[in-house]
Symmetry: C2
Subunit: 438 residues, 2 copies
């Protein structure tokens, strides 16, 4: 303490909403790291209450006197900082709005809410002259919000490609190493605690879509909501897809892709945002992201290609991101300042998935390879889709064609798939997957 | 522009000091991206002057009317923001101090100055109530300063290990793939523009040491200067070292290592900072960082292991980092705020290299392997150093022993090497290198 000035002693009042995995860890850190936090902020933090749904539950290490079921009262009781880790839309949304209106700065990890109605929250924060920070909402402890919102704000970001859902990455990684199918691997992930009992938000891509909306809003200075994000889950990924990917030097990953497209003939640029499983070349930095880890790859005009990697979920990593925001927001408050607000001036249009230029990998079961290749090639040509490679597997009744296309508009590719399904020589289109990251 | 309020029109005045590779690119971006910068800041930026050493030189794309050789006058002429990209200690130091005293916020890429005398600059910024930002000082475009200073400020960082010098990484990577020696590879790097005509700052580790000082100051809330950093360059790395590393599944990298050590018997923790070549296991995330790329690996208590990767140098990437700071600092200025200042409250002691616990890889030329192993093993045991593996290469007069130790204090390891050199059975200690990253 030799170099520090005497610390001001009036504490900043902190209210915590939610006391699940993340909330418990946040409360623990606020207590255990109190001295360091005070030194870093310049003032002590005082925890004034923790809002929970059920008061009676046993919560080891948490002072029961701090617990309350009246969250509405807690956010109106003069807190300087409100930490929201309840998740979901309501009551989180109304509690945050009440907190902001009462002059509290808010730190939240709530990706679903930010992706659905971030603008309302940002407007309320702006009006009250307080902060709304949310580093924990995307990719857990990996600093990605601040880099996009501040470090790269002088640059032109052209793409953000992320593995932002640990559950689906864990499942796909397991399928890749074990050769097992989706359902079996999901059960294993649930047993190990890597997937929720109701895994819908993860495996159907809702969680990744929310994160993609947040990332693209920041990267492209444009309001993007979850409804703008094209979404496909991983439930249809088969062990055959994964084996096919291996055969072409790729790995299957659930990716969130945010791209600045164009300029078109009128000089207009648009935003394309989607999340779906995709085949990624094994030499791509994202390909080696294993287990429940997350990674975000950013391409920008001047900075070039950057990658951010780390644990994407879990109590302590998420709490680390929350606490970083708490210190920043507390410092801002003591200086009478506020950090960056919403930046949506570019207001770029959102592209339909139809116009996105991508590549497809297809597996077709066909009647006989030698006789049908010309018919199939014509079908691709009719839709203006160029074939990059064709590989034959098996013979006669078991004949399979594996086709990888050149980049083409997604609409042309899906129309090709529709037409292929109607061909007599095609028994079944067994797999269709986008190829990304080249 | 549909959602934006009418923009205020009074410009913020910007002065640029230095017009080399980075400065030229900064000026170009200030001009080409003026509309975006205005929208992101909320005010236009007005470039009021560029200080250069020689006025007569041809500078394509730069308005000659902006050039001045009177930098002192430029920083005293009412600039809101001063961008310093001259580098070196003087005149940069005095110009920055003058700018701060005159109420300008400063954005700098000057690692040498920050590592030598950062505290003076921070104190001047604090006194004037303005900002001192320096994202470009370490690892080019990779956001690492802001993540350490803000995102992870609620966590306890225990280690930062970085490949922070692109020149040495390029040389070692080339030596690894080509099998060529150091001198030859340096010449090649110079021909390709990856190494300076005078490469001392890079190959002797001065550049990496400055960056290590900055990173450890931020990570450990302690003043660390370049003088505190233990430093070894890469000039003694041989193709034999690189082949030895390969044989044990490692790669040789020049690393900057910042560690929080302890707690010792008195509960004290210290800071250890060093830069030197080291053998890194090929499966470590830093091992695959190739060419002139940089990467920084961070370990912290709650967040776990994070990695940041990207281009570490060059005009456009460095300018991207500078412009990100310019926007942040300009926004702060319009809100009457300032970002984080120096945080050195922890004031931890700096460990001597002697006490650092590390591992050594040694190659010894010995008279005859069978007869001498016991003598050599005794020599290690006498210094309390435990051997992990011994590998024999060649026979008789060409006999080589390759030894890897268990972790031990550096002083014990270097004393062992001294004793080995005095043994009759040891013809030569041909290589000594630390093994890191496990």
């Amino acid at each position: 303490m030799s170099t520090a000035e005497p610390l001001a002693t009036t504490p900043l009042k902190v209210a915590v909403l939610g006391c699940g995995t993340v909330g418990t860890e946040v409360v623990r850190l606020l207590t255990d790291s109190a001295d360091d936090l005070r030194a870093r902020i310049g003032r002590p933090l005082e925890l004034i209450g923790i809002a929970v749904r059920r008061a009676g539950r046993e919560r080891p290490g948490i002072d029961p006197a701090l617990l309350t079921t009246d969250a509405e009262k807690l956010v109106s009781s003069g807190a300087d900082l409100v930490i929201e880790v309840i998740g979901g839309i309501e009551p989180a949304r109304n509690l945050i709005l009440t907190a902001l209106k009462n002059g509290a700065s808010v730190v939240t990890a709530n990706k679903a809410l930010l992706a659905q109605d971030g603008s309302t929250l940002f407007a309320a924060a702006e009006e009250a002259g307080v902060d709304l920070y949310f580093e924990a909402a995307v990719a857990g402890a990996i600093p990605i919000i601040r880099p996009l919102r501040e470090s790269l704000v002088g640059d032109e970001i052209t793409a953000v490609i992320g593995i932002v859902n640990g559950t689906t990455n864990f499942i796909l990684d397991k399928m890749d190493t074990s050769g097992a199918g989706f359902a079996e691997t999901l059960t294993e992930a649930q047993d190990l605690g890597y997937a929720e009992p109701d895994p819908t938000a993860d495996i159907e891509g809702f969680d990744a879509a929310a994160k993609a909306a947040i990332l693209s809003s920041l990267a492209f200075h444009t309001r993007v909501t979850s409804a703008d994000v094209y979404r496909e889950g991983i439930t249809d990924v088969t062990s055959t897809d994964i084996a096919s990917a291996k055969a072409m030097g790729c790995v299957v990953k659930a990716v969130a892709i945010c791209q600045l497209t164009g300029p078109d003939a009128n000089g207009e640029r648009a935003v394309s945002v989607r999340t779906h499983p995709a085949m990624i070349p094994r030499h791509h930095p994202l390909a080696s992201v294993g287990g429940a880890y997350n990674a975000v790859f950013v391409e920008s005009k001047s900075a070039g290609r950057l990658m951010f990697y780390g644990p994407g979920a879990g109590g302590p990593p998420t709490a680390s991101a929350v606490l970083g925001d708490v210190v920043t927001v507390a410092r801002n408050r003591l200086r009478g300042a506020a950090g960056p607000g919403e930046s949506s001036y570019a207001a770029r249009p959102i592209s339909s998935i139809d116009t996105v230029i991508t590549r497809y990998h297809l597996s077709l079961e066909v009647t006989d390879v030698a006789g049908v290749l010309a018919t199939i090639a014509n079908c691709f040509a009719d839709h203006g889709v160029s074939i990059q490679t064709v590989r034959q597997q098996g013979r006669g009744a078991d004949a399979q064609l594996v086709i990888v296309t050149h980049p083409a508009p997604d609409a042309a590719l899906s129309a090709t798939v529709e037409s292929l399904r109607e061909l007599d020589v095609v028994v079944e289109v067994t797999s269709v997957m986008r190829v990304e990251g080249e």
